[in-house]
């Protein structure tokens, strides 16, 4: 055992000396490799953590949301709709909700305006004329509690509001662009007559009953579209799916880069390298020794790249809030929530990344020297 360890150490000594002969080239290779691992690991960590965060936070979403569809489009709930539902067994509460979008031409941002449910904000009741705003919106317009802000409604009139409060920064992931106002203000601002609602939120006591209730709802109101909480959660389970857009491009680019590396390694040796292997064999190295030595070269480089890339990715995603992804995620939006993600890692994903980082490269390093390693060393004498 001790001999085996000493032997591997000696082989590693040689392989490192060998790599050191072209310090710059090999350091460059290591850097690029680490960068690829960094990008892949960053994407992996970010998407997994975001999905987990979504699941944790949205599990308190309303059990059923009922939308009304007119000509394939989402339309307002008319008066009497709520009553048409009647009493459905299992439904504890049903309430009409009011929310919509507003485009602020001043900063070219979209806001979500909402009327919080009765009793939702008992501590700071939203009185007529006052609003509670999300943190990103506050940043965009430079607002603090006590400030006044005016919006021009779609009917052309100007409405002024006082900022009563700003929602906490830690809740930006769900509330960054929110503007909460009273029902009277909302109806006046958007010119929505009493009795009309955006949608209906239903709370159901028993989670097993939700599907049945949804079916009953669709039966009773054929122009309705029930959205279940489980569907909401599933939407976010597939966010940043690897099959989508930019993630797919990133993945393809990374795989291509790996393939180029492996191809470069595997597509044969230079005359110099062949000669050196011949020399090693001539001075007493066995085929197996040469292969083991090459194995260490591939393994050490890929292992280092994996460890460094992963550590950098972890720091990037969980300590620097995925700063490099911000331009991509922001897209054309003006508002972008500042949020920290809870660090959750999928061990299986990490293991897969490790496998795909280390294994192919190590094999690619060994394959080309196989041929050279098994040739008879007498060629060296004659050469």
């Amino acid at each position: 055992m001790r001999t085996w360890i000493e032997k591997q150490k000696a082989l590693i000594d040689f392989t490192l000396s060998s790599l050191a002969r072209r310090k710059l080239k090999n350091l460059g290779l290591l850097l690029v490799y680490t960068l690829i691992v960094f990008i892949l690991a960053s994407v992996m960590l970010f998407t997994h953590a975001l999905r987990h965060e979504a699941a944790q936070v949205l599990k308190n979403s309303p059990e059923v949301i009922l939308q009304r569809m007119v000509a394939g489009r989402h339309d307002l709930i008319p008066p009497g709709y709520l009553e048409k539902l009647g009493r459905i067994r299992g439904v504890q509460k049903k309430e009409g909700r009011l929310w919509g979008y507003y485009y602020d031409a001043v900063v070219k941002a979209n806001y979500t305006l909402m009327v919080p449910a009765a009793g939702a904000f008992t501590a700071e009741t939203i009185t007529d004329g006052s609003i509670v705003i999300g943190a990103a919106m506050a940043r965009a317009r430079g607002l603090t509690p006590g400030n006044l802000i005016s919006f021009r409604s779609y009917s052309g009139r100007l409405f002024s509001f006082t900022v009563a409060d700003v929602l906490p920064h830690s809740a930006e992931l769900v509330s960054a662009d929110l503007i909460l106002m009273s029902e009277a203000d909302y109806r006046a601002f958007f010119d929505i007559t009493a009795g009309y609602y955006t949608d209906i939120a239903l709370s159901v006591a028993n989670p097993q009953e939700v599907r049945n209730i949804a079916i009953k709802l669709a039966e009773t109101l054929p122009d309705s579209r029930p959205i279940l909480r489980e569907e909401v959660l599933r939407t976010y389970e597939s966010i940043f799916n690897w099959r989508e857009g930019i993630v797919l491009v990133l993945l393809s680019a990374a795989i291509l880069a790996f393939a180029i590396f492996a191809w470069d390694k595997a597509s044969g040796l230079s005359a110099e390298e062949k000669r050196e292997i011949g020399i090693l064999k001539a001075i007493g190295w066995e085929t197996g020794d040469v292969i083991k030595m090459k194995f260490w070269e591939g393994a050490l480089i890929s292992l280092t790249a994996f460890l460094l890339g992963y550590i950098a990715a972890y720091l990037h995603v969980f300590r620097f809030s995925s700063a490099l992804f911000e331009p991509v995620l922001k897209g054309w939006a003006v508002l972008y929530p500042r949020f920290e993600l809870t660090p959750v890692m999928d061990g299986f994903q990490v293991a897969t990344l490790f496998f795909f980082t280390v294994f192919p490269y190590t094999v690619a390093t060994i394959v080309p020297i196989w041929r050279a390693a098994i040739t008879d060393p007498d060629a060296v004498m004659r050469g």
Binding site: R2, T3, W4, I5, E6, K7, Q8, K9, A10, L11, D13, F14, S17, S18, A20, R21, E276, I279, L280, K281, A282, I283, G284, W285, E286, T287, D289, D376, P377, D378, V380, M381, R382, G383
Partner: protein, 225 residues
């Protein structure tokens, strides 16, 4: 010590350019003597050297090392024997570029997994003996021809082999360095090593250090000394 019986070696056998380098060699290498193989280029000297030193296998014929038939051994065993019994000094030196002199000397013993410290010390003492101690950290490509050859000799000696094989050792050296080499050779002989070399340099062949001269021509022996 080493006995060759009817050794034949062919290259590209069965193909159009089939070439028989050795056509039946019977030879005995005496222990603790210096044997020189002479002959024009193409006579098969180097081929014979590779077969004696277990670098290649004969196409037919037998090689006996101390009464033991080693011609049919699998590669593992052959390498083992080669590593422990033979030390090679190649005509082109064949040092690994980019590595220091000391690293090059230690190289043959790396796969053995022995005590690194001891190996390191032995390498340094070998280089000292050959008056290269001050150059041990130099990269071999920065060394002069004579220095490189001495590194090659030190490397050949690292596993303390019984037989030292040198292929055209003075081909790339001037007279002064050639004489230095012969002095080193004499030293090795005094240490009890068996030495086999090829050369067509009269300085070597006619030297007093050489005990036996074997002449080769067209893959066959021509008379004997």
């Amino acid at each position: 010590m080493i006995k060759l019986t009817d050794i034949r070696k062919a290259y590209n056998q069965g193909r159009d350019n089939e070439f028989w380098a050795l056509n039946g060699i019977d030879l005995k290498i005496e222990p603790q003597r210096v044997t020189a193989l002479c002959g024009p280029s193409g006579s098969g000297k180097t081929t014979l050297l590779t077969i004696v030193g277990c670098l290649a296998r004969p196409t037919s014929g037998r090689v006996h090392l101390r009464e033991r038939d080693i011609s049919g051994l699998p590669e593992r065993f052959l390498t083992e024997i080669r590593r422990s019994t033979f030390g090679f000094v190649f005509q082109q030196f064949n040092l690994i570029k980019g590595l220091t002199a000391r690293d090059n000397v230690m190289l043959p013993a790396y796969p053995l997994g022995g005590d690194w410290r001891a190996l390191h010390d032995r390498a340094e003492s070998l280089l000292d003996t050959l008056k290269l101690g001050h150059r041990r950290h130099a990269r071999v490509e920065w060394l002069s021809g004579g220095e490189q050859q001495r590194v090659a000799i030190a490397r050949a000696m690292i596993n303390d082999p019984e037989v030292v094989i040198a292929d055209e050792p003075t081909a790339n050296l001037d007279t002064a360095l050639s004489r230095e080499f012969m002095a080193i050779l004499e030293n090795l002989k005094e240490q009890g090593k068996t030495i086999l070399l090829t050369s067509h340099d009269p300085l070597v062949v006619e030297s007093a250090v050489v005990d036996t001269v074997v002449n080769l021509r067209d893959g066959r022996l021509v008379g004997a000394d």
